[in-house]
Symmetry: C2
Subunit: 109 residues, 2 copies
């Protein structure tokens, strides 16, 4: 990762950025996860979606347990550099419920 | 808003949920904003994208100043009920820079 990049990120007070994961090809939004600088650097270096679990307090490479890896095709910061958008090729289901997208579960409108 | 819904939301410590805004039709991810319960209820009731500004400490109806309103076509919670996904018809640019999407500005991969 560009050494200058870390200093330009605008993280939350606990050092995190929300990371939106969108599926290449379909454009479906699959999930939202969280990254710190290290997870972002690892994702950029390996092209595997890698996040920080707020509930477990640990890093996770998506798919390491489930086999449902994410190959990162594109990655962008937003205009404020406080959010990440990843475009991925998703193996299997993105959601731990087995749904393809985490947003398939509870529509309100 | 269903009175039972508020109690089921899993907000951050400061009472917020990240809200991903996706464009109807194109599927492009336009921006990420933040909602508290009131912003979510207002959005559900009016179908206008309405958020909480963390930097300004106030509510904002997207487009109230710029004219770049968002008509909300669909809205869903994710499986953990800690993130909102809105599908919107966007008038004009979503980004304050004038870009159509906030994620057009800084690609990293």
């Amino acid at each position: 990762m560009d050494p200058g990049l870390a200093g330009r990120l605008k993280t939350t007070a606990d050092g995190l950025l929300p990371a939106i994961v969108q599926e290449a090809g379909t454009g479906r939004v699959l999930m939202l996860a969280w990254m710190d600088e290290a997870a972002l650097a690892y994702t950029l270096g390996t092209r595997r979606g890698t996040y920080w679990s707020r509930s477990r307090g640990e890093y996770w490479v998506k798919g390491m347990t489930s086999g449902h890896y994410q190959r990162v095709e594109h990655l962008a910061l937003d205009c404020d550099r406080d959010t990440v958008l990843l475009t991925v090729t998703q193996t299997g289901a993105a959601c731990h419920t087995g749904a393809h997208s985490c947003f398939d579960v509870e529509p309100l409108l």
